[in-house]
């Protein structure tokens, strides 16, 4: 498929749209289940609005196209890979700082945050091992 073929929805775009719709449904179900109709409506609208915005802007902005899952050539896939890696590193850094603060203050979230940090660290080690053998 050509990179400029906008008529067929790529698997990446389908996946992003599906995630948005599922997240909207989850917000709605959780909100209704808890009796928080505001959360249900606002959460679902935000997710559906985000999906709609990406769809409308995908031909005008490369960033919107990439956020919408339309990485269709090697440079765009490289951008998504680097963005994912940077986001993951930032997330782990924030988790580590939050865990240290929680441990220092004796917060009840320390165990949860420590577990999440461990997941981040071990998954990084595991993927490094995997890709050093398969890439």
């Amino acid at each position: 498929m050509s990179a400029n073929d906008g008529h067929r929805m790529s698997s990446g775009r389908r996946a992003v749209m599906a995630v948005c719709v599922v997240a909207a449904a989850a917000y709605a179900a959780i909100g209704i289940g808890r009796g928080s109709y505001g959360l249900a409506a606002v959460g679902a609208l935000i997710m559906l609005g985000y999906a709609g915005l990406l769809t409308v802007l995908r031909h005008r902005s490369e960033t919107a196209g990439l956020l919408g899952g339309a990485a269709e050539d090697e440079r765009q896939q490289h951008i998504v890979l680097r963005a994912s890696a940077a986001s993951g590193q930032l997330l782990v850094a924030v988790l580590v700082v939050a865990m240290l603060v929680a441990v220092a203050t004796g917060s009840s979230t320390a165990a949860l945050l420590s577990g999440l940090c461990a997941v981040g660290g071990f998954s990084f080690m595991a993927f490094t091992w995997w890709y050093s053998r398969h890439a």
Binding site: A3, N4, E62, D73, E74, R75, Q76, H78
Partner: protein, 86 residues
């Protein structure tokens, strides 16, 4: 005959990346000479217009398969289109 004391530096990846500063290419010149727009070249190569722009301005160095595809599109070899500048 005396031999110079300095041993030749072994060409390690780190040394290569420090000496090979950047890769210049002739994509823009060849594209304009053939009357193609960036979008048309992108469509012919199966990449986006933004990727053609990034390659032309040197912001992105294409992979070897894409470099070969670009060179073949213009009837050149990769070495004729991409020049390593130190």
């Amino acid at each position: 005959m005396a031999v110079s004391g300095a041993a030749p530096k072994r060409l390690t990846p780190a040394l290569m990346s420090s000496t090979l500063d950047y890769v210049r290419n002739d994509v823009r010149e060849l594209r304009t000479a053939s009357g193609l727009s960036q979008a048309a070249l992108g469509a012919a190569l199966g990449v986006s217009r933004q990727t053609v722009i990034a390659i032309e301005t040197g912001r992105y160095d294409p992979s070897l398969p894409l470099a070969i595809r670009i060179a073949r599109h213009f009837g050149r070899t990769v070495e004729e289109m991409f020049h390593v500048c130190q």
